[in-house]
Each structure stands twice: as structure tokens, then as C-alpha cells.
Amino acid sequence: MRRWALIAMILVPLAVLYVSLFVGRFTVPAADVARILASRLWPIARDWPASAETIVLQIRLPRAILAMFVGAGLSVSGAAFQGMFRNPLVSPDILGVSAASGFGAALALLLSRGAFALELVAFLFGILGVGLTYLLARTYRSTPVLMLVLSGVIVAAFFSALLSGAKYLADPDSKLPAITYWLLGSLNGSSMQTLKLVLPPIILGGAGLMLVRWPLNILSMGDEEARSLGVSTDRLKGIIIVCTTLITAAAVSVCGIVGWVGLVIPHLARMWVGPDHRALLPAACSIGATYLLLIDDVARTASASEIPLGILTAIVGAPFFAYLLRKTQGGWQ
């Protein structure tokens, strides 16, 4: 049973990745996709149009990989935070990372500094926002969970106000639509270049979270109890916050605010493999990667123009969460 779950965790996202490469407005036959991919490893006679190769390798592949890493990253962050805060309604942006990143991006758009600067500024602001939250929550050399949540609310409110200010000042004909569209979330701007920028922090943060899967179980029993079981709770919380912040700030900086993934996917994963974070975090990664990949496939194929990701994740996520809430009556099982 456990073995089959593990195999499914690896194979399903890869299968969906393959499908994502030939689905789209420009039709590339499935067999051609396989041969284009294989041609990167073995010399194969190229009898497919050059445009097909460009689309598969330069556009769809980076975008699909980005979707997988962002989906996996947000989901694993959400799962880790739900365990740490012992609360099912927590999502990765609870500490204000999205609001701060959003303001950073709006600032960069306002100053028209190009895509690279936008990603960098959004990333740095995300880290700045969480840093402020952490400092604000620190009391008597410890960081109580309640203080973290409240500080996160304050910091998020502050940066949301700044973001509104930036929107208010923005030129309503050009800048304002750009900011609004960016905030709705999209994987449109992905290229191999963005991957090189974004994957390292996501992988680093993800690896860090994978290392503390067992202590996370203990932390989810409550701070005091975790300490009595020999866990240095403040250090562990610090590790978790740094890792999730690296992941979410990187994700938000490149594809805007993609809500609901980090909130809903951990629940789905918990229903599948149970509450033990040793299995839960990998499961959340796998489901999150698959989910965002599918959502993005819909986003880019459903209509003539692209549908922003943030809209789709919420439209699919909210009813599902409502169903979950009714079914479980707010309980954990």
C-alpha cells in the first residue's frame, strides 16, 4: 500500500507533465513530443517542424516545470505551516509574504524596471515582510504561535495598504492594468531563464522542510509538549519559516499571487496519507505539482486569451474547500 502510494506520487505528476507538453492551442502530436524530448539525449532524425520543437522545449517545458515546482512548493509550505500553527485554515501567506511581495512587484512595475528586476524586488520584499513579522512576534527570546499570526496580519495589512497606494498612483491606462494583471497570477512569463532564478530557492526551502518532517510532527503537538520531548521549538520554527519564505517569495515573485493551492492541497494530501508529516509533505508536493500543472493547462487552453491562475485556483479551490468543510464539520479526520 505504502509502496503503491510512493510510486503514484512520482508517476502521476510526470504523466501529467507529459500530457501538458502536447496539449495547447498549437497542436503537437504526442509521439512527436516524446521524440523531441528524446532528441535531447540521443541523436534522432528531426522530421518534425522546428516550431514544434521551439514550443515544446522553449515554452511549454519551462512553463510546466515552473508550474510543478510552484504548486509543490506552495503545497508543502502550506502543509508545514498548518502543522506548525496547528490550524487547518493556515496558508503559506499567513506571515505576510504575498502582500509584501505584491507591493514589491507593484513598485517595480511602477518604476518600469523590467522582468528581472520585478522578480528580484518582489522576492526581496517577500523576505522583508516575513522578517518584519518575525521580529514583531519575538518576545522574551521566543516566538509564540499566536504572536506570529497576529504580527502576520499586521504586516499583511500594512503592505496591502502600500499596494493600494501604489495602485492609486499608477497610470490607469498602462501601469494599473499591468499591476492588476500581475497580482492575479500567471505562469505566462516563464522561460529557462526564470527557472534558473526561481528553482534554487524553491528546492532549497523544500529540502529544508523535508529534513524536519519528524520534528514537525512533534511541533504539531504544541510548543510546550514539543519542548518537553526535546525539540528546540524556536529554532525549529525559525527553520520552517525561513524555508517556507524562500519558497513562497520565489513563487510569488515569478507568477504573482496564486491563492488556495497552499491551503487546499495539504488537506487533500492528509486525506490520502494521514497526518504524519513524513508522508504528508511528499504527498503534498506530488498533489500540488499535479494540481497546478492541470490548472495551468486549463488556464492556457480554455479560452482564446489566458485566464489568470489566481482566478482558476480559487474557482476550483473554494467549492472544493466548502465541500471539505461540510464533510468534515471542521474536524481533522
Binding site: G222, S228, V231, S232, W332
Partner: protein, 269 residues
């Protein structure tokens, strides 16, 4: 002679200006169950949290197995002292076996995870406690009594020198109270020093150990309780100190449990 696993010297604790206890000297030996008695709000739980290193003393020192408590880091402390808190709010439906396995955490290192051996220890502990049938059940779905026994089982795999129990039998039905107290006796039999709070004076008799009485006026009495003293106390709350307990250490020297009137039925744990 049994060795002293807990040594408390002239310890005091206060929240801001409110003194909870002061000038407290206390030794707890291996195999002993010390019962901490007192009314609600007198500071029983605070004392336990100090002994666990969760709260820092305002003055004085605590040594566990010869080592200063505040010098130990979290894992080292957890290898010496286990505590069962009074309020435990279950969140995630971990299996009972997983919960017991959590007791192995202080032996694992920051990034460690329990091995097959750790799981085996947890299973053995469940078996010894007669709880093996619960191992795959979600511990959130267990009854309060069963959950308490599972958590008690967790302290066993933690292999500590000292176990602190905050009202271990509160909210338990009679059957589970008895089982819980039996298990406490069993732990004492293994050479662990136990400190257990209770507001039921009867518990002080079960283990034939000493009792520590914390009173509302912040005075603390230690000694072997006698039936008459407790009865007196319950009828006349204003009775003098020496009337309550076969009082402090000097008195203790001449009163072995069997010599105390009414406590002849007590058997050594």
C-alpha cells in the same frame, strides 16, 4: 540507600511580584513517588514546569541526576525529565503508536527520524502497558482515559530519570484511574523518580511515598501523610501546620509509613 535524582535547593518562583513558592528544598529519590497536594491555583503546575525546565526559577537551583537543569539543552533535558501535562489538546489524528514513538525524539538529533528500532521500543511499551490493541487507532478518537494511558506510555519510551505528572488521573473514570495509578507504580518500580500533582489526598497514600503540600499562604510542607492529619485538614481548614502532615524532615525520621496511624494498609510500590 537510594540516590537522589531530583535536588531542589532554596528554590523560589514568582510571576512578576506574585510569589508562587520560595525557599523550597526538595529531594526525590529513585523509585519514589512524591505527591504534590494543594488547592487549585496554589502553584502545583508551576512547580512541575520549573522541574521540567519549562519555567526558570526566580532563585535557587534544580539538579537532575546531579546536573544543573538550566545547563542542559532541550534534547538532553528531555532524556532526563519527561512531563505529562494536564491539558493536552489533540490536533492531528496520529496513530497511538506514532504518539508513543514521539517519546524517542530526544534521542534522534535535529534532523533525525525514528528507526525501526524506535518503533519496536514503542510497540513493546504499549504491550507492557496492555495497550497494544490501540496501536493503529487514531489517538484523537480514543477516550480521555485511553489517551492519557497512551501519553503515559510515551514517557516510558523517553527513558527519563524523572517523570513529572500533572493531575494524571483528572477526568478519568474509576477503572482508568486505577490503571493509571498502577502504571505509575510500575514506573517507580523501574527506579524512576516520579513527581505527581493531585488534589485528591488519597493518592498520597497509594505509593507510601512522601507528599508535598502547597498551601495558599505559600508555605510548603513535606512529609509522609497520615490519615488523621488529612481528615483533620478536611474538617478544619485552619488546623496548624504540624496537624496536617507528619511534618517536615525531622518528624519524618521517626515515622516510617507503618508507624503512622491509619497508614498500615499502604504497601510499598
Amino acid at each position: 540507600m537510594s540516590q537522589s535524582l531530583v535536588e531542589v535547593r532554596s528554590a523560589g518562583f514568582r510571576y512578576a511580584t506574585r510569589v508562587i513558592f520560595e525557599a523550597l528544598d526538595l529531594d526525590v529519590n529513585a523509585g519514589e513517588v512524591l505527591t504534590v497536594l494543594g488547592p487549585n491555583g496554589c502553584g502545583k503546575s508551576t512547580l512541575l514546569r520549573c522541574l521540567a525546565g519549562e519555567l526558570k526559577l526566580s532563585e535557587g537551583s534544580i539538579r537532575i541526576d546531579g546536573e544543573a537543569l538550566e545547563r542542559l539543552d532541550a534534547p538532553a533535558r528531555a532524556r532526563k525529565v519527561a512531563i505529562l501535562f494536564q491539558e493536552h489538546q489533540p490536533t492531528f489524528p496520529f496513530s497511538a503508536l506514532d504518539v508513543v514513538t514521539m517519546g524517542r525524539t530526544p534521542y534522534l538529533g535535529t534532523f533525525g527520524a525514528p528507526s525501526a528500532h524506535d518503533r519496536q521500543l514503542a510497540e513493546q511499551a504499549l504491550e507492557q502497558f496492555g495497550l497494544l490493541h490501540l496501536k493503529d487507532r487514531a489517538y484523537t478518537a480514543l477516550s480521555g482515559g485511553e489517551r492519557q494511558l497512551v501519553l503515559l506510555c510515551r514517557t516510558l519510551v523517553q527513558e527519563p530519570d524523572v517523570i513529572l505528572l500533572d493531575e494524571p488521573t483528572a477526568h478519568l473514570d474509576f477503572k482508568n484511574q486505577v490503571r493509571c495509578l498502577e502504571l505509575i507504580g510500575m514506573l517507580a518500580g523501574r527506579g524512576v523518580a516520579l513527581v505527581s500533582t493531585s488534589h485528591d489526598p488519597n493518592h498520597a497514600f497509594l505509593f507510601a511515598g512522601r507528599a508535598l503540600l502547597m498551601q495558599a499562604d505559600r508555605s510548603v510542607l513535606i512529609g509522609v501523610p497520615s490519615i488523621s492529619s488529612i481528615a483533620l485538614r478536611s474538617r478544619r481548614p485552619t488546623v496548624s501546620r504540624s496537624g496536617f502532615l507528619a511534618s517536615p524532615e525531622r518528624h519524618l525520621a521517626k515515622t516510617s509509613p507503618s508507624a503512622v496511624p491509619g497508614s498500615g494498609c499502604v504497601r510499598r510500590a
